[in-house]
Structure formats: C-alpha cells, structure tokens
C-alpha cells in the first residue's frame, strides 16, 4: 500500500477547515496540521513537512499568496491548492504563476473539492 499523502489545511475559517477535512477523508491521506493564519501556517509547515497544502488567501497575519511563496522556498515540490473566495481570474492566474498547482474558488461543493484534490495528487 502506498504511503499516506500528508496534507495540511490552512484557512482562517474553522468550518471550512472542518469541511475540507471531512470531504477528503476517503482519500489515503493524513492531515498533519491545520492553521488559521499565515504565520502559524509557516511554523506548522516547517514542523510537519506536508506533501499537499490547501491554502486560503485572505487571512490574518500573512496572506495566502505570501505564504505560498514562502512554502515553495522551503519545499519546492509541495503541491499547493489555493481555495479562496477571491474568485477573479487575475487572482487565480497570480496563484498559479507563483507556483500553486490548483485553484478552487469558494464556495465549493464537496464534489468539486474532491475532483480538484484527485487531479492534484495525480500530478507528477
């Protein structure tokens, strides 16, 4: 059996973190950390070395795009899925240009989350 994919969930909303956790639980994953702001996210990222991060943009302390850049400096092959209410095309393109592997606008359905996640973990 393949090793579990180590996932970290970053969002300032408790209910969104809980929903992401719940909807991804049928994948072969281990949620190694959760964070509600950008600063704490980077601390937990360094401690837990996740393979995949779901990352909000609008957060206290440090915004998600800055966090994304920092995470990629620490671990260049981490797969980051940006999940944000900032659903405009320019924000999506910026996230991808900075190195995110996936962009999912809020609000999302469980099906959209699961299919985006499936595509993300299938990427080389």
């Amino acid at each position: 059996m393949k090793d579990k994919v180590k996932v970290m969930i970053v969002d300032d909303s408790l209910i969104i973190r809980e929903a992401i956790h719940k909807h991804l639980k049928n994948f072969n994953i281990e949620v190694v950390g959760q964070a509600e702001d950008g600063k704490v996210a980077l601390e937990i990222f360094r401690q837990t070395d996740p393979d995949v991060v779901t990352l909000d943009i609008t957060m206290p302390e440090l915004d998600g795009l800055t966090v994304l850049e920092e995470m990629l400096k620490i671990k260049k092959d981490v797969k980051v899925m940006v999940i944000t209410a900032l659903s405009d095309k320019a924000t999506g393109l910026k996230a991808i240009k900075l190195g995110a592997k996936s962009f999912l606008p809020k609000p999302f359905t469980p099906e959209k989350l699961r299919s985006s996640f499936e595509r993300l973990i299938a990427q080389n």
Binding site: S13, I15, P60, P105
Partner: protein, 148 residues
C-alpha cells in the same frame, strides 16, 4: 452605488446559497438603509478598500446558520464556534466573489463577527447603504452594502 453594483452582490449571494446548500435563495427588493437598525443574531462584517471603499455585512439568525452548517458538515450537532465562524465565512465569500465583476483591486478584509443583537452596525456616515433582504427556506437575513 448604482443598480449594477446591487446586481453584483445579489448574484454573488444567490450563487452562495445555490452552491453551498443546493437550494435556491430569493432576494427581496433592495432599499436604502435609514436610521432603523438592521441587525439579527449573528453578523459578519467585511471592510472594503482599494478601488472601492466601504463595508459589507450579512446579518442573520442562529437557526439559518445552524441549517447551513448542518449541510456543510453533514453533522447532526453543530458547535457554537461553527455557527459564529460561518457568518464571517458567508460575508467573506459573498464579498470576495464580487471581485469577478470589480477586479482584483477590490480588496476585502478578514471578517469581523458580531454575536448577539447589537444596537446597530456602524457604517461610514457619508456613504449611502443599501439593504438586500434574503429569504432562504423559512429564514430571513439581510445583506447590507455600503460602498463609495
């Protein structure tokens, strides 16, 4: 603010309920907010800066938030923290989604949540505010938009 601005917020609100609850909400006729308070049990407030300045808030009931939280989490019991958090997330999502219309220099703050029936929510005095009534299932809530 004009009619087009109001439509952006109405569309964003209707889309939220459609996507998250898989059932349609309806909006009533928007009206200009006067001195009468528009505050229900939980309120999520977003500050707007950049190209447009002002505030947006959604105010709603515990019962409505509980029902939405049940749908999101699929759980029988919903924690009080989830309900409080959810109103901020709804405000954040509705406000963030209107960037599709306004562009990325429409900047939104993190949400501030007010729990309990406050006297009123303080909005900039010099900007007209509009109230958009929202009906979803048997629940009533209001989106208040105050934009330069």
């Amino acid at each position: 603010m004009n009619e087009t601005d109001l439509h952006f917020f109405i569309d964003s609100t209707l889309n939220y309920f459609d996507e998250v609850t898989n059932s349609k909400a309806a909006t009533g006729i928007p009206y200009i907010k006067d001195e009468a308070p528009v505050v229900l049990e939980y309120t999520g407030i977003i500050g707007i800066s950049g190209k447009r300045k002002g505030s947006v808030y959604i105010t709603t009931t515990e019962e409505m938030l509980k029902e939405i939280a049940h749908i999101i989490l699929g759980a029988k019991e919903v924690k009080r923290e989830d309900i409080k958090d959810l109103v901020g997330e709804v405000a954040n999502t509705i406000s963030g989604n209107v960037r599709q219309a306004y562009g990325s220099d429409f900047m939104i703050s993190v949400p501030v949540v007010v729990e309990g029936k406050a006297k009123d929510i303080k909005l900039p005095d010099n900007i007209q505010s509009f109230v958009i009534p929202i009906n979803w299932h048997d629940h009533k809530s209001f989106l208040v938009v105050c934009l330069e």
